[in-house]
Amino acid sequence: MKNKKTVLLSIALLLVITPEVVHAMHIMEGFLPAKWAILWSAVTIPFFIIGIKKVSTILKEDTNKKVLLGLAGGFVFVLSALKIPSVTGSSSHPTGVGLGAILFGPTTMTVIGIIVLLFQALLLAHGGLTTLGANGFSMAVAGPFVSYFIYRILKKKNVNMTFTVFFAACIGNLITYVVTAFQLALAFPDPISGFLGSLGKFLTVFAVTQIPLAIVEGLLTSIIYNLLAEY
């Protein structure tokens, strides 16, 4: 009995800083048909395994880093539970995909990201267990890798750092949204216009919220990056 109460209490705590509006691009529990749920898990698992392997080689050199990974995970979770004001007047959350990829590297973010997605499903009702594969691919694989590569390329070309970080985080966020729209369109092709029609519909509908949010995320990430550089 006590445990149920305490779990509920934790949810209550989360609701204080979790918001009235939906978590932007998490495909909710049970939304995807079995075929697609399994397919996306199959796509994501290899990345996850590679991530784990890579992380464990890093950990072999310095086992203390395990705690750092744990701390980073807690940090990313809280980041995604934070409420930020968005242009439409409502509020939303930073996905933390870009910031995480820049701070911890993309492979680490794959591992941490998927674990965080699991806890989000269990504690916050964001996303779900059956959609973990699909969400994992868009948020813990595609987003971080794209963000990180943009960051690396622009950094090498000596582009202004604030812009580099802004662009990396912004595009990372957009990619997440495009991939999700893609996943939804594949699973629910339009009966008349097929996959492409459906993709068009999803991209349009979510663009209303996602494009401003991507810009917000980019701005926010660059401010944080500068604050950290100052420190």
Binding site: K5, L8, L9, I11, A12, L15, E230, Y231
Partner: protein
């Protein structure tokens, strides 16, 4: 002024954190709120500043219930504010000045006025000398004083202090005690602390909490004489009260009074 009237606050799971709380800040200039860990002091403070909303009862400001809309709270918080226990969590900037100026900049106050007020606040807590130091080079006691300045700068009428001396060494504790006494000359202070000697010294009126209820209240000199009350609340007597009870010396409010008494006795 602020009054709390038959306030009840429940957690999400339905357990009562606060139950039938009545508090009147008019009863003293410096009010003490004491109670064991988990007796509801922090929850009470959060209700008083409008962060948590009571399930029953209310918080009244100047005779009328406070509102929970953004605009009202914004005005309300210019009147009442709080210094939290852990300074590490309250200092966001790496620079002392920017940190203390934070609330004023949020209110769009012109920079030259900000400068005057920030410097005055820093001086009040004896922190002016390290105003240009990076925050992470400050000692714990210094951080604690900067955190205090960060609230004093808003110039609110009522200031809640949550464990103002926790983690401080005896010397620093004394210093904070003096700062509190000084601020109390212009403002109303509410202090919560586990340090009974501090509470006894700086507060004139005391509320004793136990498991979310007010177990007793009264003038400092009265409350701390009630042995049963303190025991039920899992608290202790201040040592000045202890020696009064055990040795039969007169009841002194401060160490200095006892000291003077000691000198006279020897003469």
């Amino acid at each position: 002024m602020i009054k709390v009237e038959s306030l009840e606050f429940k957690y999400e799971d339905g357990t009562k954190a606060l139950d039938n709380i009545n508090i009147d800040l008019n009863k003293g200039k410096t009010i003490g709120v004491i109670g064991a860990n988990g007796s509801g002091k922090s929850t009470l403070f959060l209700n008083m500043i409008g962060i948590l909303k009571p399930n029953k009862g209310c918080v009244k400001y100047n005779g009328s219930k406070i509102n929970y809309n953004k605009k009202y709270l914004r005005e309300y918080r210019r009147k009442i504010n709080i210094v939290f226990q852990d300074p590490e969590k309250q200092l966001f900037y790496s620079n002392v000045y920017d940190d203390v100026a934070f609330p004023l900049r949020n209110l769009n106050i012109p920079e030259d006025e900000i400068k005057v007020r920030v410097e005055a606040a820093l001086k009040k807590v004896n922190a002016y000398e390290f105003k240009d130091k990076p925050v992470h080079f400050l000692s714990y006691g210094q951080k604690k004083r900067v955190a205090m300045a960060g609230v004093l700068v808003m110039d609110s009428q009522v200031i809640l202090l949550d464990e103002p001396t926790s983690g401080l060494d005896p010397h620093m504790t004394k210093e904070i005690k003096n700062i509190i006494k000084e601020i109390a000359m212009e403002k109303n202070i509410v202090v919560s602390s586990h340090d009974m000697d501090l509470i006894y010294d700086v507060c004139d009126y005391i509320y004793v909490l136990r498991r979310g209820q007010i177990l007793g209240e009264g003038l400092a000199e009265e409350v701390f004489l009630k042995e049963n009350l303190l025991e039920m609340a899992l608290l202790e007597k201040p040592w000045l009260v202890k020696i009064h009870k055990i040795l039969g010396t007169p009841l002194f409010k401060t160490e200095e009074q006892l000291f003077d008494y000691g000198i006279q006795k020897h003469i």
